[in-house]
Symmetry: C2
Subunit: 162 residues, 2 copies
């Protein structure tokens, strides 16, 4: 439904926390204590981040995790990709990203294939160009984009559903 998973959410929280202690080795317990995240799940998430080489783990007592790169050099895209795979947006034409399959049966005649791929790429691009650091810091007042319009200015109030 076009949303990120809890795993990603937890991962971002954890990474943000690690970013604040850059250079230090932080145990998962510390993070679990600070935020209402199930310990066990947090461990799963950190494991995935570790396998993706976004964080490094140290075992044993006084062990824990640490960012392998500074937060400015960690993109949201890498994080999301590590925790839930690269976004697909559509089941069409994503063969090259993950499983190398081109099995979309609609593909050959699908009139929206490439545009959908384009949308996916736009979202993906945005994620690749957004750093963890920019997420971690308190940021500028949000400028709602909605007001500026588009297409034809309609946009109605859309956004609400029954």
């Amino acid at each position: 439904m076009l949303k990120l998973t809890k795993r990603t959410e937890y991962g971002l929280i954890a990474l943000t926390h690690l970013a604040q202690r850059q250079g230090e080795v932080v145990p998962a317990r510390e993070i679990g204590d600070r935020y209402p995240i199930p310990r066990r799940l947090l461990a799963e998430v950190l494991k995935d981040l570790c396998n993706a080489d976004l964080v490094a783990s140290t075992r044993g007592a006084h062990g824990g995790y640490a960012l392998v790169r500074p937060a400015q050099e960690l993109s949201l895209g890498e994080i999301v990709s590590a925790l839930e795979g690269a976004p697909t947006v559509s089941s069409c034409g994503d063969g090259d990203l993950l499983h190398g399959e081109h099995s979309c049966d609609v593909q050959s005649i699908c009139p929206i294939r490439s545009p959908l791929v384009e949308i996916k790429d736009k979202i993906w691009q945005m994620m690749l160009t957004t750093s963890l650091a920019s997420l971690a810091q308190p940021h500028k007042p949000y400028r709602p984009l909605a007001s500026q319009t588009q297409v034809n200015g309609s946009v109605k109030s859309s956004i609400e559903s029954p």
Copy 2:
């Protein structure tokens, strides 16, 4: 997992088809015949689009569906919103959008709440500013946004309309 559903995919195909016959009333069967989309599901999708006032239905023999507005004035955002609800991206801070709930237990201390909302809004904005018409036509080579920015700058950019 950050992807659009089949419903949306089918909806886009159907709408694209309707766009090609603007002004005419097209029965669902015709669309079902042309693309490998389960009839029954297609009907569901068209019903939703109808309830969202994106298409108008005509009942009885020779009945069918037609776009309510020209494709240039139909945004991808409206379509997605009609078929799967507005994108949330995160379970945090979306209270005002769908169920009016602010139940995210991480919310109060969550260090990434507002950035995640911002990401959601960026994606949403892109969808609101992308018209059905631009999806329907074979389109221009993709110009990545990457180059221009990032991290916490505003990336506004792109978002092209037809």
